[in-house]
């Protein structure tokens, strides 16, 4: 393989190396989380060492485990990339869940209606992705529009719109989109299966006859799409004027306005892009994994919390699309490994949820010190996770202007 380090990969490795250099508060945080989790496990008569080794085993222990970790990471990565755009633009987008659902509904509708007409797979897939992107973008853009022109706080609107999306999906799955085969029988709210040529291919690597990687796993092409998208959005944010404007508004709204940037348009654009990318997460889940849209009956609809997990992954990744890649994989591993721990030790799913919470709290608590050290060492001008912190000032400026 001809490998030439580009600017992008260099930045990627630099970020990665820096985070390793400054890893000790992180390690301390992980140790503290592990200690707290151990206490919980001991209280439940479970062996902590066995628990953690089974967690690691479940996340990366076998080829299939690694594949499932990556499968779990794919939608989280997409949402996280979108979150990077929104948060960099100073918009706190909690609406990944709803935007993902909007994208999935549009994507599956496209696959079902266009599938019989367009038999050229790549074209059909591309059309589904475009439809999903647009649906998610409009749904996210709506929250951006309400914020920019009607002063409706986006945290409020996106939390509410998530619920609206779940109900809308349930309605469609129970009516217009219901699999005709379910009408007479069980009435399970799901669509028909999409045509085979709309499916994203599975990723399996065969190097000769002796070496096979990810064969017979569920790892799909969405991973490649996600990584490409991360690079594209990185370039967009840091190498184009569009990205510069979005970031400028996120960093200092008033200054941007004086500089002649149309602030409102940037806010809508940031949410449009963020929503669209989250919408892609929804389509990719449908085309790559489930091959149909189906509610799981939970309050999140079908997303498996990816819309929320994406926020955490984005912030852990320093609000950098490239940083979101390892962050999503680690987060995916955490979730998949925890399930394995539940199976091996017979502990309750509730314990897993609690431990995940502890890990998030401890790790995020270490971030400030990591940033401080990084800043001292590199004298970096902006801290990566500062966009959210700068937001209220921006909101105040916006309201003053209104």
């Amino acid at each position: 393989m001809n490998f030439r380090p580009s600017a992008v990969t260099l930045v990627f490795f630099k970020t990665f190396a820096n985070s390793l250099l400054n890893a000790w508060p992180l390690l301390l945080a992980i140790a503290a989380a592990a200690a707290a989790a151990s206490l919980l496990l001991l209280a439940l008569n479970a062996n902590p060492i066995q628990a953690f080794s089974s967690m690691l085993q479940g996340a990366f222990g076998t080829t299939n485990a690694t594949a499932e970790t990556l499968v779990k990471a794919i939608p989280v990565l997409f949402v996280a990339i979108g979150i990077c755009v929104a948060f960099r633009g100073g918009v706190v987008n909690i609406g990944g869940e709803g935007q993902m659902i909007a994208g999935a509904v549009a994507g599956v509708t496209a696959a079902l209606t266009l599938g019989p007409i367009i038999t050229f797979g790549p074209l059909l897939i591309a059309l589904c992705l475009v439809c999903g992107f647009l649906a998610g973008a409009l749904y996210g853009g709506l929250a951006g529009f309400l914020k920019a022109y009607f002063n409706v706080n986006e945290i409020l609107s996106t939390i509410m719109l998530n619920q609206v999306a779940v109900q809308m999906m349930n309605f469609l799955l129970n009516g217009p989109l219901l699999d005709p085969a379910e009408l007479g029988t069980n009435h399970i709210p799901k669509t028909a299966r999409i045509v085979q040529w709309a499916e994203l291919p599975r990723l399996s690597l065969s190097l000769g006859d002796n070496f096979e990687l990810f064969t017979r796993t569920r790892l799909h092409f969405g991973l490649v799409l996600g990584i490409i998208l991360a690079i594209v959005i990185y370039v967009l944010l840091w190498r184009t004027t569009i990205g510069y404007r979005i970031r400028a508004v996120g960093q200092n709204e008033r200054a941007s306005r004086y500089a002649g940037i149309n602030v409102r348009r940037q806010i809508v654009l940031a949410m449009f892009l963020a929503g669209g990318i989250a919408g892609l997460a929804g389509v990719v889940q449908v085309l790559g994994l489930q091959y149909r849209l189906q509610t799981d009956g939970s309050p999140t609809g079908f997303t498996g919390n990816a819309g929320f997990n994406g926020i955490v992954a984005a912030l852990f990744g320093g609000l950098n699309p490239l940083g979101a890649i390892p962050a999503s994989v680690v987060f995916g591993g955490l979730l998949v490994g925890a399930q394995k721990m539940q199976r091996d030790l017979g502990v309750s799913a509730a314990l897993i949820t609690a431990i995940n919470g502890l890990i998030v709290v401890f790790v995020v608590s270490s971030q400030y010190y990591i940033r401080q050290r990084a800043r001292r060492r590199l004298a970096a001008p902006t801290s990566p996770a500062a966009a959210a912190a700068e937001r209220p000032a921006a909101a105040a400026a916006l309201e003053q202007q209104a």
Binding site: V152, L156, M160, S348, A350, L351, G357, V361, S365, Q400
Partner: protein
């Protein structure tokens, strides 16, 4: 039709539904006014709900139940403050972490200590003598036949407004939330004020949980709140960080929710998906119109995070 849907019992139902949002929303308002966003409210509510339920389940004492919820809320508020203020963690994520911890921990404790759904005798309805008999417009039934915690929630609205707007403590909170550097220069201990507001918020979130588990529902189950705490956070934005605004938001949301439940009885042809979606959609729409009307923003009502 209108007399079927706008009954006194629907309005009374709205009052009940609004109660946990008011508790949690008021608590969150204090935190945000001082500059701390606590997204973990739902987790604290769950822990408070369980603590209250378990205490009442074992001791039959409602007072002890409320105290247990307050204590758990206070402790989790302290932890939240430590992480947000002292460790300066990203508040959005740490809140999600606390939420997950509360979600899992409350269920785990429930499984280990109780095991299967049980019910307790919670706060009984307390008819206020005289007022509860007012027949005019059903006022007695709507407002004055609720349990103690419902009254407490509504009573806390003017109290919170008074504290925020008329006391030195409130002034400090607003100063710290508005311009921590200036407040600091004037000798206000920023960290201490924020610790106090976030712990107060935890206290109220615990109370919100107790209002569910030992007053309104009188049962406990995993994820009892079902994401209610997140709606409460959203309502703080609806109310523009003012206690009365939070009250109005909670009432609007709950009123539409009560209406849609009533609609399922008298107009069963409306698809239930649209009915259930209504409170969420209408809250957004209402804010679109509300923010048009109140064009003058008050500089007081902005949350502030210390950007260092």
């Amino acid at each position: 039709m209108i007399d079927q849907i706008l009954t006194a019992s629907v309005l009374a139902s709205a009052i009940r539904l609004a109660t946990p949002y008011i508790f949690a929303g008021l608590g969150e308002t204090f935190g945000q006014r001082s500059g701390v966003l606590n997204l973990g409210v739902d987790g604290i509510m769950l822990m408070g709900a369980f603590a209250a339920f378990y205490t009442v389940f074992t001791t039959q004492s409602l007072l002890l139940g409320v105290l247990a919820a307050l204590l758990v809320g206070l402790l989790l508020g302290l932890a939240t403050a430590f992480v947000s203020v002292t460790l300066k963690a990203e508040q959005g994520i740490s809140g999600i972490g606390f939420y997950l911890f509360g979600l899992g921990m409350s269920e785990l404790l429930y499984q280990k200590l109780i095991g299967t759904p049980k019910s307790v005798t919670g706060f009984p309805p307390l008819a206020i003598p005289g007022l509860s008999d007012i027949e005019f417009l059903g006022i007695g039934q709507i407002f004055f036949r609720h349990n103690l915690l419902v009254y407490l929630a509504f009573a806390l609205v003017p109290i919170s407004a008074f504290i925020l707007n008329r006391t030195t403590f409130g002034l400090k909170i607003r100063a710290v939330g508005q311009n921590p550097e200036a407040a600091d220069a004037m000798g206000v201990n920023v960290a201490r004020v924020r610790y106090m507001t976030v712990m107060l918020g935890g206290l109220m979130a615990g109370l919100a949980g107790a209002s569910l588990s030992i007053a309104l529902l009188n049962v406990f189950q995993q994820n009892l709140t079902s994401g209610l705490g997140f709606i409460a956070v959203a309502l703080v934005y609806f109310g523009r960080w003012r206690p009365v605004g939070v009250l109005l938001g909670a009432l609007l949301f709950s009123f539409v929710n009560a209406l849609q439940l009533q609609a399922s009885v008298i107009a069963p042809n409306i698809p239930s998906e649209f009915a259930v979606m209504a409170p969420y959609a209408i809250t957004i729409i209402a804010l679109v119109f509300a923010s048009k009307q109140t064009e003058k923003p008050t500089a007081l009502t902005k949350p502030f995070e210390r950007g260092e």
